[in-house]
Amino acid sequence: MNRSPSLIIGACIVGLAILIAVFAPLIAPYDPNLQAIADRLQPASALHWLGTDGFGRDLLSRLIYGARPTLEIISLVALLMAPLGIAIGIVAGYYGGFVDRLLMRFTDMTMSFPRLILSFAFVAVLGPGLLNVALALALTSWPPYARQARVETRAMRRSDYVASAEMLGIRGPRLLAGHVLPLVLPLALVRIALDLAGMVLIAAGLGFLGLGVLPPTAEWGKMVADGTPVIFDQWWVAASGGGAILVLSLGFNLMADGLRDILDPRHG
């Protein structure tokens, strides 16, 4: 841990973002959806630290509340994609043979799909919203988890402790969940940490295209989109949302970098 300042800095940024999201109502100076048309497109001032948007809404408050949908989406993605991938990988690795070939062929096919554009099409055709964005990302992102879980499961398939568990009569789902899963989980968790920065960017991008949470909910990507028409004159409307995306995704990337340094000294 001491060897990797980037892991610590990254974890601090991510932790701070989570705190801000949880305590948003306590921190935000205004209601994020409170419109004040008379004060629209104001630059930063003592009243509005980051200025106001086209509806006169306080940008700092929207930025604070905007941490919520982003973190909700990526947590949901992590909760959907990792279990799906791990389940497929463990089943394929444990049973082998035809099941393995079939599942891995399916995994390879999904892995060859373009993730961003398919997520885009998924949400564009099936409707915007937080759940659909998370589903789209999860359904295109699980294959690496399946591959990793399969390799590990195959490696421990012949281990003594799996054999002794089988001898005790533990089979099927109970064996896979109770004796194989705990050993597959740690590396999968590391992989989630590596994946989240990309998720933040894709989720924000879909929000930018109007495919994220529905208005008027504050969301960082959507804030950039709201600022696009006035970028040349009131640049601060778009600047703050994008800055927040950059910082959060940088936080996850720093964490990932630190983890990589620790796990794989060759890349250090």
Partner: protein, 341 residues
């Protein structure tokens, strides 16, 4: 018989995996359309149509047939280049895509050339002097490249370099004045204006492509730099480098003649992958820069809820993505004798 049979089987397996990927893509897009809450029949007849009109339109679209037949019809259409009619433009989606595609390829190609040059260069610098200030700088640059939302970077670049500093042309592929005079031959504006011998139009096109290409390139530089650095660090400790050094080879010779040829397979994979990702990332850059390619076509179709157009664009980019990655695999297999077993 074996020496011939083995590569042939490999080739067949390779073709099979491409075919499987493309078939999966067709199936996935078909399912998207099938489960979409947007009813294509209502899009045509409106929501005030009588049930008879509705049913007639549904039959005309073939939506009353069994699902498997609908899929066969859809897949057959896609394979022959028929993506249906775009609801918003009334044109065949294939025609729209053919018009937009060169713009996307042109932008992504210029961007990957810049990105690959910068990425390999930075990766070399960081890998040859690890741990110093150069390495740290490269690390920061690539971290930023990984983390920055590209649509936001594009907006800021437009604000600074176009609106404030007037260094580059603004949104779009060229100024309105040249739009009428340029005759589309290849669809690649940089080539078309050169063919026409119109110097002003050519430089205008360059000034328009610079900004979006640089923004896209920054994004791919990050990944290429990091992986180049890792590959070089790994090679530096190998015995052949020590041998070359013992024989008195200079650092430049070691890098150019010994290390780079050995990591070319890695480099090609990384760059090809980055290129495929750039084609995908067009959705954001083209939207910000009003670049009339597939990405912008997709977002315009999105606002019109134009399902055939969205799925057509997705299929085209997806097919390029899958093919590009598979071709890279094949190419790398041919370049690296260690993989030929």
């Amino acid at each position: 018989m074996r020496p011939i049979a083995k590569p042939l089987a490999g080739l067949l397996r390779w073709l099979g995996s491409i075919a499987l990927g493309l078939a999966g893509l067709i199936l996935v897009t078909f399912l998207f359309a099938h489960f979409s809450p947007i009813d294509p029949v209502i899009r045509i007849v409106g929501d005030k149509a009588t049930p008879e009109t509705y049913d007639a339109a549904k039959a005309a679209l073939g939506l009353d047939r069994p699902l498997i037949l609908q899929f066969a019809h859809y897949a057959g259409g896609v394979l022959t280049g028929d993506f249906g009619t775009a609801w918003s433009t009334g044109q065949p989606v294939g025609v729209d895509l053919a018009r937009a595609f060169p713009a996307t390829v042109e932008l992504a190609t210029i961007a990957i050339i810049i990105g690959a040059a910068a990425g390999v260069g930075l990766g070399l610098i960081a890998g040859l002097w690890p741990g110093g200030w150069r390495d740290a700088t490269v690390r920061v640059v690539s971290l930023l490249g990984y983390s920055v939302p590209i649509f936001w970077l594009g907006l800021l670049a437009l604000l600074l370099f176009y609106a404030r500093l007037h260094w580059f042309g603004g949104p779009g592929r060229q100024d309105v004045t040249y739009e009428m005079t340029t005759v589309p031959v290849t669809g690649f504006l940089l080539i078309d204006t050169l063919l026409a011998g119109d110097k002003d139009a050519f430089f205008d096109a360059i000034s328009h492509i610079c900004l979006p290409a640089l923004v896209l390139a920054f994004y791919s530089t990050a990944g290429i730099a990091r992986l180049t650095r890792a590959a070089i660090l790994e090679e530096l400790h190998k015995e052949y480098v020590t041998t070359a050094r013992a024989k008195g080879a200079s650092q430049a010779r070691i890098v150019l003649r010994h290390i780079l040829p050995n990591i070319r397979a890695t480099l090609i994979t990384v760059i090809a992958l980055a290129y495929a990702v750039l084609l995908e990332g067009a959705v954001f850059t083209e939207t910000v820069f009003a670049w009339p390619g597939i990405g912008r076509y997709l977002t315009i179709s999105l606002f019109a809820s134009d399902i055939p157009a969205i799925l057509g664009g997705t299929l085209l980019i997806g097919a390029c993505f899958i093919t590009l990655n598979s071709v890279t695999d094949l190419l790398v297999g041919g370049l690296d004798p260690r993989l030929k077993r």
